[in-house]
């Protein structure tokens, strides 16, 4: 799981049975004490592998939306919740967005995109790299650093400063910071429910980076199933995704598009291996 704190933006991404939405009220309270006013909110997630294990309000998307609606101030009057479907069983993308304005463009003119990748059925040999070796004397920091190196994760964005951590007995998380841009990876390597996620932000003015990043991420995990969500107010970054993944043996099975307040266009694509 990861937390990113920017001067006027906060991103929290948590897995397991965490109760993420319970952070909204204390966050808004403390932000208000700093003189900050909420202007937009975006919540997203895929399909849980073990939905029955999720506590309220994460037990259903409907409850999550109601909880968010109740937690947000009335000033965020442009609101939308949607489940974006796919043809791949057990894959859909849940998005809630709320904003004080119907659309939002950055003041500095730079248009950013966010790409969120969810991968399941990781290659077994590659997933083995995310298990610790009992008795090797390594702690979470040193084992995490080793995993970053041997898996090639450190090469996905070569200039990024990486903060990594290995969990005992298995699992891995890392945050990358590259100027004002973050990236993050989380891995659950156990066979039967293996999962990895990747997220990064970028500027549409160098969106060719998306192709390089997607190829490198794919080679780290070689998943059987991959979903890619791109969020951007004004650019078709998503059109580059299939061009990056299909030469690697992935086939695009579905593509769903929807528009959300402030967030812009969310495009949800699912891919499965041809093998």
């Amino acid at each position: 799981s990861s937390l990113f704190v920017y001067p006027t933006k906060i991103i929290i991404k948590t897995c397991g049975t965490t109760e993420l939405l319970k952070s909204v009220a204390p966050l808004l309270r403390h932000a208000s004490l700093l003189g900050l006013t909420l202007t937009s909110c975006r919540y997203s997630r895929g399909n849980f592998i073990f939905p029955a294990a999720q506590p309220f309000p994460h037990d259903t998307f409907q409850n999550e939306v109601v909880y968010l609606e109740d937690s947000l101030p009335d000033s965020l009057c442009y609101r939308k919740a949607s489940v974006m479907p796919s043809k791949t069983p057990s894959h859909s993308w849940h998005v809630f967005s709320a904003s004080t304005e119907a659309t939002s463009y950055p003041l500095n003119g730079d248009v950013m995109y966010t790409i969120e990748i969810c991968m399941t059925e990781l290659d077994r040999d590659l997933a083995r790299s995310f298990f610790q070796h009992p008795g090797d004397g390594k702690n979470g920091d040193t084992a995490g650093k080793e995993m970053t190196e041997i898996t090639g994760i450190g090469e996905i964005i070569p200039g990024a400063l990486i903060c990594d951590f290995a969990f005992d007995p298995c699992g891995y998380s890392m945050n990358g910071i590259d100027g004002d841009r973050h990236s993050t990876i989380h891995v659950t390597p156990e066979d039967g429910f293996s999962y990895a996620s990747y997220e990064c932000v970028g500027s549409v003015y160098d969106c060719d980076d998306v192709v390089r990043v997607l190829k490198r991420v794919f080679k780290v995990f070689r998943p059987a199933t991959m979903s890619v969500s791109t969020t951007c107010v004004s650019h078709d970054v998503w059109t580059l995704v299939a061009g990056a993944l299909e030469p690697l043996g992935m086939k695009c099975r579905s593509c769903a598009v929807d528009e959300f307040p402030a967030a812009g266009n969310v495009v949800y694509q699912t891919f499965t291996a041809r093998r």
Binding site: S1, S2, L3, F4, V5, Y6, P7, T8, K9, I10, I11, I12, K13, T14, C15, T17, T18, E19, L20, S23, V24, P26, L27, L28, H30, A31, L34, L36, T37, L38, T39, C41, R42, Y43, S44, R45, N47, F48, I49, A53, Q54, H58, G140, D141, G144, C163, D164, F165, G171, I177, G179, D180, T188, E190, G192, F193, S194, Y195, S197, A262
Partner: protein, 65 residues
Amino acid sequence: MALSGFEGFEKRLELHFFGDDPKNVGLGLRLLDFEILDEQILQAVQCTVVSAVANHYFDAYVLSE
């Protein structure tokens, strides 16, 4: 598939604010004490910080459930 295991799929929340005080030279939310983040916000989520890094622009924390 296993009957139960660790849920990998994440929930992701992104909040944007307005009104950063110029006196704070663009620090805004970064002025939140670590204790507040850890004890009041992350505790509500049921997470703790296991590793952190920062640069001129933002702070990044790796969390454990």
